[in-house]
Symmetry: C2
Subunit: 184 residues, 2 copies
Amino acid sequence: MIRAAARAFRERGYHNTSLDDVAADLGVTKPIVYHYVGNKQQLLFECFRTGVDQIRSAFAELEGSRADGRTRLLAVMRRYAEAICSDFGWCMVRAEDQDLDPELSGRIKALKSEIDQGLRRLIREGIEDGSIRECDPKMTSFAIAGALNWIAHWHRGRDALSPSEIAARFIDVFENGLRPRNER
Amino acid sequence: MIRAAARAFRERGYHNTSLDDVAADLGVTKPIVYHYVGNKQQLLFECFRTGVDQIRSAFAELEGSRADGRTRLLAVMRRYAEAICSDFGWCMVRAEDQDLDPELSGRIKALKSEIDQGLRRLIREGIEDGSIRECDPKMTSFAIAGALNWIAHWHRGRDALSPSEIAARFIDVFENGLRPRNER
């Protein structure tokens, strides 16, 4: 149900999608949808959380890892890019712009902040262990998250590149930069 | 008038702002606003175009430049970042999501495509002249534009960093990458 809703929100827009539409897409009756989700705001929040949980899992799996900061950051970026390319990408990026009640809006902000703080922490750890060049962790986190979030604006399931190929090319840009490595 | 509208759209949202509000912000009568802009959609488009024209000027000024591709790309990125940090940033990034009539929507898409094609061309020229590492010009353009567009989501006039400092840090990430330059 959450996946069906995420697809409907992405394709028709949040305001143009009703719980009736989601029920129809699933071939179930309206009361079933209402039973599980309560209301449309809650459903949008669940779509957001399902997507963001993929990124949070990536962080969780790296707990206790002995890999250097850059390796862990790139692993999170890979999962982040794949999550944004998934059916949940639109909701991950756009949920906050909808008119949600303050409680849900606050939970979305808190989860976004958790991801941002996690990225900054990996960047700082990478700088400390020498695997990441000296840089501004906050601006670097914003640049990475912005580039990845923006994928939701142009990615369509029919793109020539698979999500893992998109992830690999974005990671290449951030890891290696535009300047040739052999240039002084 | 365009700047006042851009501020109002950013602060209150496009749907929550009327031409009456814009007139009130400017301390003029409604007929004056209607005389100059016709309708709210047209005003949003003018806000979009005013912002995007800053990026187009950067491209135009580089016509005939003998600088290498990377130098020209970074010059465009700097102006792009500064434009997104300006009052017009919100409209540059969000105009396309509003319910505009097909003619205006088409003009917005065409201008966005022009910027994207311009970035890709500079990337290709940089790869050819050796100033940019081998990379996928399309994905690299998307990564750069995404990171810069996303600034509109978090930037507030009261940020600790000035627009030119934000631009410089974003350019540093893209130019040099995360990996230390002295690493094999």
